[in-house]
Symmetry: C2
Subunit: 241 residues, 2 copies
């Protein structure tokens, strides 16, 4: 499995993904699940992926091919799309097509393949937007009422987001929130694993303003994780029933 989360706030977007991929418990590998496409200052699009690796890799590879194709235009290349909505449509259509192709191949073995994506970004002069794209290619969008989107193993890390995140959350607090949400997921579910990839996109910067890979032994993450455990235990001991 996977856990990816994206927050769309007044100050910008914060995205976090894990990197664990497994085909059975004895076949575990590290694969990047965050893909950044940018023309700094002009356009930035970040894609987070969850699901069958064959589907997500092929989808990303074909999107890249379409971008680099000599005939790339606003209907085929997400880097030429006039709006983020159009970019989400291109990505959704590609995901649906790749998924259907691979599903056809796998049906011979009575298996299926699926994937979902979070897409966030902004084009100069346009709005910053964030979408969750379903395996069928349709999508929903983050809004003021629901400023976060999750894919993969989303349940363990949802309570903390439900409690501390709203549109006014600062980008610093947002980074803390997604990391603590991930920390709860890492502790409770073996199929989600380090290292982590985090990206921050300040509103109207139209580029990734902070990009960080957090490795398994990261001292800051470990300290944060322990601090949070201690805060939970302290809070717990103070609660009266």
């Amino acid at each position: 499995m996977t856990y990816c989360v994206g927050l769309l706030l007044n100050d910008g977007a914060v995205l976090l993904s894990d990197t664990r991929t497994n085909a059975g418990f004895d076949n575990i590998a590290i694969y990047r699940k965050m893909f950044i496409f940018e023309e700094p200052g002009e356009r930035v699009i970040t894609i987070l992926t969850a699901g069958s690796l064959s589907v997500t890799q092929t989808t990303i590879a074909r999107l890249r091919d379409a971008m680099n194709h000599p005939d790339a235009d606003e209907d085929s290349s997400i880097m030429k799309a006039p709006t983020m909505l159009k970019a989400a449509e291109i990505i959704g259509n590609m995901l649906a097509k790749v998924r259907a192709d691979i599903d056809d191949k796998l049906s011979a073995m009575r298996q299926g393949a699926s994937a979902s994506l979070i897409v966030a970004g902004q084009r100069k002069g346009g709005e910053m937007r964030m979408f969750l794209i379903y395996p069928e290619g349709n999508f929903i969008e983050a809004t003021e009422d629901t400023p976060f989107l999750q894919i993969g193993e989303h349940k363990y890390g949802k309570p903390i987001l439900d409690r501390v995140v709203n549109m006014d959350t600062t980008l610093a607090d947002a980074q803390k929130a997604v990391l603590l949400s991930m920390d709860s997921t890492l502790r409770s579910n073996l199929s989600v694993g380090m290292p982590l990839d985090m990206a921050v996109i300040e509103r109207d910067a139209c580029r990734v303003t902070l990009r960080r890979r957090i490795e398994a032994g990261d001292e800051g993450f470990r300290a944060m994780s322990e601090g949070w455990s201690q805060a939970l235990r302290d809070g717990f001991s103070q609660i009266k029933i």
Copy 2:
């Protein structure tokens, strides 16, 4: 859905269940999911249920019939079973049979029905034990390493249990832990709802030593829930990244 959780500790067992049952979002009802069978001082068995209501109700009804049958013996009645292991086997076999019967009926409509149970109890002179019984009738048992069992919507409420519960947890702290675990689940998942049923079984008492229904407007639960939210927000604001 449902959320039920049981803790098996050095001092005894603590059990909590919600009461929401739904067949679609427009058909929501309250049904008890905690069933207590006791001969105080001699034997106590508590069953928590998750899954299709038709399966769980029929299973409980048939277990009750078997108990009250004139020929009830140690192979058919959980109140005559010589050990908790034997009681778990009787319950598991009954669940598997009822589930298979109902599944047969539903297969005509290409539907299926399933359920799982948590069973906890003690017989005078025997050990206190707790089991999670799967739809197929097989089961696992709570141990020193894993002193809690969950059925239904278990993911939202697992991080808090992972962090604060071990065999040495007091019964008072254990009640707090299961209530906070439930609180996180209630906030993040609509299919789990108040009122709640809680039972505490002190070790070697062989009876339910505390039994409590917590209604939707319960002032103590609301205060605890708000106190916990505040503790989380305070803890969050103190964490550094």
